[in-house]
Amino acid sequence: MIRPASEEDLAGVVAGAKGPLSIQGGGTRGFADNAEGERLTTSGITGITLYEPGALTLVARAGTPVEEIRERLARDNQRLPFEPMDHRALLGTTGEPTIGGVVAANISGPRRVMVGAARDYALGLRFVDGRGMVIRNGGRVMKNVTGYDLVKLLSGSYGTLGILTEVSLKVLPKVAASATIVLGGLSDDRAVAAMAAALGSPFEVSGAAHDPGTGETLLRLEGFDESVRYRSERLAELLKTFAPSRMESDADVVAKLWAAIRDVTAFAGKEGDVWRLSVKPSDAPDLVGRSGAKQSLYDWGGGLVWLRCDDGTDLRARLAAFAGHATLIRANAQTRRGLGIFQPEPAPLARISAGLRAQFDPRGILNPGMMG
């Protein structure tokens, strides 16, 4: 494993590389397993380099553990708004998730449905491209349209366009209170409709999930005490036509409920392949029906669906054409190779993506083959 200690070291390693590199942060998300090449980790390039709570801005080197950032933010009563998932339980991995990995894979959690994804909070970054050049884009201010937005392009490019060395993030205040309305016994169809009604209300729902396993539909509200109380009452009233509800307002219980949704712990330790579907929310129940999955979980009001299928299931073939995409998150090496991690893109988009990879990584050494 190559473990550069600085951006400069990393640039030298990439410039001098003789063959492909398989890039990882803490290696907890399993993506490095999908690329051929010598292992390289950014976990040696660490440290929070700037934090201005009054400007809601934090800058950290890519290998900085997410936990370290969380703790630092908590000291000033702030947090990462997009609530990044921890993959360790689901994938059975160990190690320390890094902020670079979060941005490189655009990892977001349940709050994404209200506040946006990791890419929406990435204000700037530094990266080393496939030539070994250090490139900077964006900055540390919240509004910035100076030049092309490579920050978004690199967020979610899984290291195929460049290796992140530093990210600058917008952060937000922690909330004083949170509550969760729990509806029981809804069919998937009705649950998605209930979540749509909640998300279409003015009550600022910051999480909308449905677990067919337990039959529970969860809706989260966050904010100041009085406000959460007011909104949860109004929302429960609005959802009366779907099912009777109960209210969970103990902060620890609410936090645990949503950590379980975020990390898909319901699938942890159970056999089978795990797929992640990004779809139009109202399409989700039909797709889940067609999938033949052994287990499912709806997040983002139905916009994100987790499926656990029999080993080797070609889910994309089974679902046929649909608006959105399916990503293979957990499977053995043979299935991953056979089906591919990412949904194949339509020809003109695939051509553009391949063109971008060729421009940023002309030798094809950064996680080759991972995204196409």
Partner: protein, 482 residues
């Protein structure tokens, strides 16, 4: 501002290009008469003008594709145009370019409340997107000042912001998908009603690419349920520093207002003389707006007022009804018009870290005296997006150049303190040559490589974003003068 020389070969074959375009489009969609093309000679950066070769106004994505295919074959540059409200010269033509206006593409294609999106053609104005959904209790969040006139196409090109993006984000955070036509006429669908990209986030780089990667004809936009209500509070301070501290303390306290607007003394005086909004005469004025139910608003405003009082305000006024709320916003909303009454002005939009606010305002004041040009500041304080308005006299020889030099110094200052050249207006031609202040040659090279992939012949929206010297090799290699 230097623009590339027009390609004489293109000028010579104007008749053929016009006739090919006319064959592909309905009658009246091609404007080539010299008197009529003048309507397209500039955008809102009206100091720079150049009539295009011709202008086309397509009515469908297919027609856009046909136009681009012809222009691609003929090697003719194309300048996409929304409503022409760019303050950065983003739609300034060259004499050998075809203006492609999307004004006729203004339909709503689909509204979907359960999935909270609207799909529109991109010639539709920003405000009319909200107009299409507000009776059903929804709105489209990005709200640039020009929202009555500006088109979604231009919003996407420039990644436009607005006063309320502290809470709701800018265009890129509210854009779910696009239908885009590449320069060779290929139509691509990127994104859609789902929430994240399936491969590389192409949508993320298309938004804000200033019409240089393709022509966006349709857009899927996120719509949000309207809050129950909103209420502003007005706070006056004796110094910019204290007002800046107040903003920082409010943010740190965990309140996230939808808007925090800041006006300095020159701007307060000008707007008061113009709009009579009843503002107090002081050094710095904050307008802070929060949303929610009446009880939620009370809760948030109580906290904001408590923090504001700690800093000894000279004025603290909470709107008691809609009328008072409107009066508080009146001055802010007429600030640009008020400054325009005094003289011609240039509006910049450099963004700075909020912590650098007092220093930057002080430096701008000093520079104003050095240059002998007045300047008023009105801006989005929560996110550090400045809007210095530099006053000059367009009829006085040399004044525009002096004003531009002053503006460039302000933008350099923004970069120096850790900010950027433009927060929401875009680079266009206006800030093109300053890009080297913010970026290294390698940084710019990486951005230009993206354009190489989408538009290998460099025909789309020529001479914008990148300094001409930086793009010279590429433009020469394609044999296109622009």
């Amino acid at each position: 501002m230097e623009m590339p020389k027009p390609n004489p070969e293109i000028l010579l074959k104007k008749a053929r290009i016009v006739s090919r375009l006319q064959e592909a489009l309905y009658d009246g969609a091609v404007i080539h008469d010299e008197a009529e093309t003048r309507a397209y000679e500039c955008d809102a950066l009206s100091a720079y003008r150049c009539p295009p070769l011709c202008a086309v106004l397509p009515s469908s994505t297919e027609e856009v594709s046909a136009i681009l295919k012809i222009c691609h074959e003929e090697g003719v540059p194309v300048v996409p145009r929304g409503s022409g409200t760019s303050l950065a010269g983003g739609a300034l033509p060259t004499a050998d370019a075809v203006i492609l206006g999307v004004a006729r593409l203004n339909a709503v294609l689909e509204t979907d409340y359960p999935n909270r999106f609207i799909r529109v053609q991109t010639g539709r104005t920003n405000l009319s997107v909200t107009g299409a959904v507000e009776t059903d209790g929804f709105f489209y969040a990005p709200d640039p000042s020009s929202q009555l006139a500006c088109a979604i196409a231009g919003n996407i090109a420039m990644n436009s912001g607005g006063a309320h993006c502290l809470k709701y984000g800018v265009t890129t955070n509210n854009l779910l998908g696009v239908t885009m036509v590449l320069m060779d006429g290929t139509v691509v669908e990127v994104g859609g009603a789902h929430m994240d990209a399936g491969g590389i986030d192409l949508l993320g780089v298309i938004c804000g690419s200033e019409g240089q990667l393709g022509v966006v004809t349709e857009a899927t936009l996120r719509i949000l349920p309207k809050p129950e209500g909103a209420r502003p509070v007005l706070i006056g301070y004796d110094s910019n520093e204290v007002a800046g501290e107040c903003v920082s303390d409010i943010i740190k306290a965990g309140v996230l207002p939808v808007a925090i607007e800041f006006m300095d003394r020159p701007c307060i005086e000008a707007t008061e003389a113009f709009a009579h909004a009843g503002y107090p005469m002081c050094e710095a004025l904050l307008i802070i707006e929060v949303e929610g139910s009446p009880a939620e608003i009370d809760e948030q405003l109580a906290l904001i007022k408590e923090i504001a009082r700690r800093h000894n305000p000279v004025e603290l006024r909470e709107a008691q009804d809609a009328d008072e709320a409107a009066r508080i916003w009146l001055g802010r909303k007429s600030a640009f018009g008020a400054m325009g009454q005094i003289n011609d002005y240039m509006c910049l939009d450099g963004t700075i870290p909020v912590s650098a606010l007092p220093y930057v305002l002080r430096r701008i004041g000093e520079m104003s005296r050095e240059y002998g040009l007045g300047v008023g500041n009105v801006f989005h304080a929560g996110d550090g997006n400045m809007h210095p308005l530099i006053l000059y006299d367009a009829n006085k020889p040399g004044d525009l150049e002096l004003c531009e030099a002053f503006g460039a110094d302000i933008l350099k200052l923004c970069v120096e303190v850790g900010g950027c050249l433009t927060g929401e207006h875009g680079v266009g031609i206006e800030k093109r040559d300053l890009m080297v202040v913010q970026f290294t040659p390698e940084d710019l090279e990486a951005q230009m490589r993206v354009k190489d992939v989408f538009d290998p012949d460099w025909l789309l929206n020529p001479a914008k974003v990148f300094p001409l010297a930086s793009s010279a090799t590429r433009r020469a290699a394609t044999g296109v003068a622009a």
